[in-house]
């Protein structure tokens, strides 16, 4: 649905796009906001804000339970969003799209409903060294409770997965591979399709943490060849507290529910209860209806703007920022993979990330500092914390210049 004119894809009109994000016109500490913390959460365009507002103002009702008009409209909008997420991922069917609170809950769902029922002591789960805590801790909990073992797929100093070493880690006890599509801490884009091909040869299912991928690239779960894909709306211009798990239908079909309650059942009696159809089997209780509607609006908005055009714009920002930052004395970029998303983690000699974050905030620049919920990868690089800039469709080269000026001011202040 990208706008293609006379065969040439139009470049992103960033200034016009910015007008759609109300928060971008605010000031912080008397300076114009320069928002470079998009990997933590992106900002929301009016299309998303207004879709959620319209739901509450015009047709707020519970879904799938009423015969009245408001409930019919709410259910329709809710299911339209599911269709939008199906399109986003090129899934085969809406039955494969389960709404969750986000990536974290999606991974926990797989841990508890897919792995737990059959996991035995000595079984193995493989994850990479660059995972977000949400793709580490659920497996650790599971391992603690079942005696299964969590093994780590190694990375190199550039922050790239050592794909060649993965095969030797796979055994007949390997029950799942978890891999982050795009690392939030390093920016690395992982070779997910290759990993999936390799896993398939050994009959090992693959779960992909797609939280950082969907805002920056066209994801096609069928082409990737994975088995589960987890995502969060708030990383892709949608609301917080909503996301989705995509799973291959045959796997989801065979999995037991993981939470019980309303909505997920077909018939309840004290003699026994039968489950609802997919995907409702995994959606117990009243869902985040407004959030789902906002999620759907974000998907449509991305389709209209064109994720490929966004990616081209962000790639230019990444190139420009990387080049300029490498010229900064004492600045080290952590994560220099050949294939990167618009994320730059770095350290600056003599300036602790915490102080840098505070000082440049006072120049209007919002960045993330700390361990980025990926402590094992920080340990790998031997840094307690980094500062991180991450770009979105609305960022400008001028904002990168402003950030670098602020960085020099911080250095001058502290050293």
């Amino acid at each position: 649905m990208e706008i293609v004119k006379s065969g040439v894809r139009e470049q992103l009109d960033v200034l016009r796009l910015r007008d759609q994000f109300p928060v971008l016109s605010r000031e912080v500490h008397g300076k114009p906001l320069v928002y470079l913390d998009n990997a933590a959460t992106a900002q929301r365009p009016l299309a998303v804000i207004e879709a959620m507002d319209r739901f509450y103002r015009e047709y707020n009702a519970n879904v799938h339970r009423g015969v009245h008009l408001l409930s019919v409209e709410a259910s329709e909008a809710f299911e339209q969003s599911r269709k939008a997420v199906r399109r986003l991922l090129n899934a085969r069917s809406e039955r494969e799209i389960v709404f969750t609170r986000g990536t974290t809950e999606a991974i926990n769902l797989v841990a508890n409903s897919f792995l737990r029922p059959n996991l035995k002591a000595g079984d193995e789960i493989l994850v990479s060294h660059m995972e977000h805590h949400s793709n580490i801790v659920p497996w650790q909990l599971l391992c603690e409770q079942t005696g299964a073992v969590l093994k780590v797929m190694p990375i190199n100093r550039q922050g790239e997965l050592l794909l060649d070493e993965v095969e030797s880690l796979i055994s007949e006890r390997t029950r799942l591979i978890g891999i982050v599509h795009v690392s939030n801490a390093l920016g690395t884009v992982n070779p997910v399709a290759e990993l999936c091909r390799l896993a398939k040869r050994h009959d090992v299912p693959v779960l992909v943490d797609g939280a950082q991928a969907t805002p920056h690239e066209k994801v096609d779960v069928q082409a990737l060849g994975c088995d589960f894909y987890a995502l969060s709306a708030h990383k892709m211009y949608g609301p917080t507290g909503i996301g989705a798990l995509w799973g291959r239908e045959e796997l989801l079909e065979a999995m037991p529910p993981w939470q019980g309650g309303g909505e997920m059942i077909s018939r309840v009696s004290f003699d026994g209860t039968t489950w609802n159809d997919l995907p409702h089997k995994f959606e117990a209780g009243t869902p985040n209806i407004a959030g789902s509607i906002g999620f759907g609006a974000a998907v449509k908005w991305l389709e209209e703007v064109g994720v490929t055009r966004i990616a081209e714009h962000e790639a230019k920002l990444l190139d420009y920022a990387t080049k300029r930052m490498l010229e900064v004395e004492g600045l080290t970029i952590i994560g220099q993979a050949a294939n990167k998303g618009p994320v730059i983690s770095f350290t600056l000699d003599g300036v602790h990330p915490n102080d840098l974050g505070t000082i440049i905030d006072h120049h209007g620049v919002a960045i993330r500092t700390g361990h980025h919920c990926a402590m094992p990868v920080m340990q790998f690089f031997g840094v307690p914390a980094t500062a991180r800039v991450s770009f979105a469709c609305y960022n400008l080269r001028a904002e990168i210049d402003h950030f670098l000026d602020a960085l020099e001011k911080a250095r001058t202040m502290l050293t």
Binding site: D355, M375, P384, A385, M413
Partner: protein, 145 residues
């Protein structure tokens, strides 16, 4: 501007050249203070004799606020009763939370950290050396952190 108050000369000096930075021979108490979220990781070491703190030192890697606090605190601790530190810590914490309170003269230089109160996200950094000291004191003598 608030930022200049936080990163005022005294604090910057303590950050650049922290006092009592290093290790103590014969430390009786020690504890590690790790704030994973911020990336602060310090070790507080103390020599306590008959309930009185004789010497204090710290080491590790931390932000300016944590380092300046640890630097000032290790200057201030010698001569204090170990059993009083919890109360002092509470008083310091109160000063960081409520900017209408008058300075506590007995806390000496540590009062200079009060602008931290205007940076709620950074209060934890100024408290880390205090909580670490308290943990060191609460550990049986000679325990390795």
């Amino acid at each position: 501007m608030a930022l200049d108050q936080l990163y005022q000369q005294t604090i910057l000096e303590h950050n650049r050249k922290p006092r009592n930075y290093g290790h103590l021979t014969g430390a009786t108490h020690a504890a590690r203070g790790h704030d994973a979220m911020c990336g602060d990781d310090i070790l507080m070491e103390l020599i306590v004799e008959d309930g009185c703190i004789r010497q204090a030192a710290f080491s590790g890697d931390a932000c300016a606020v944590t380092k300046a606090t640890a630097s000032m605190l290790t200057d201030w601790l010698p001569g204090r009763q170990a059993s009083d530190i919890a109360d002092w810590s509470n008083q310091f914490q109160a000063l960081l939370k409520d900017h209408t309170l008058p300075d506590a003269p007995e806390l000496a230089d540590l009062n200079q950290l009060r602008p931290v109160s205007q940076f709620p996200a950074r209060v934890r950094n100024a408290l880390l050396p205090w909580t670490t000291t308290l943990r060191a004191l609460n550990q049986p003598e000679g325990t390795n952190p």
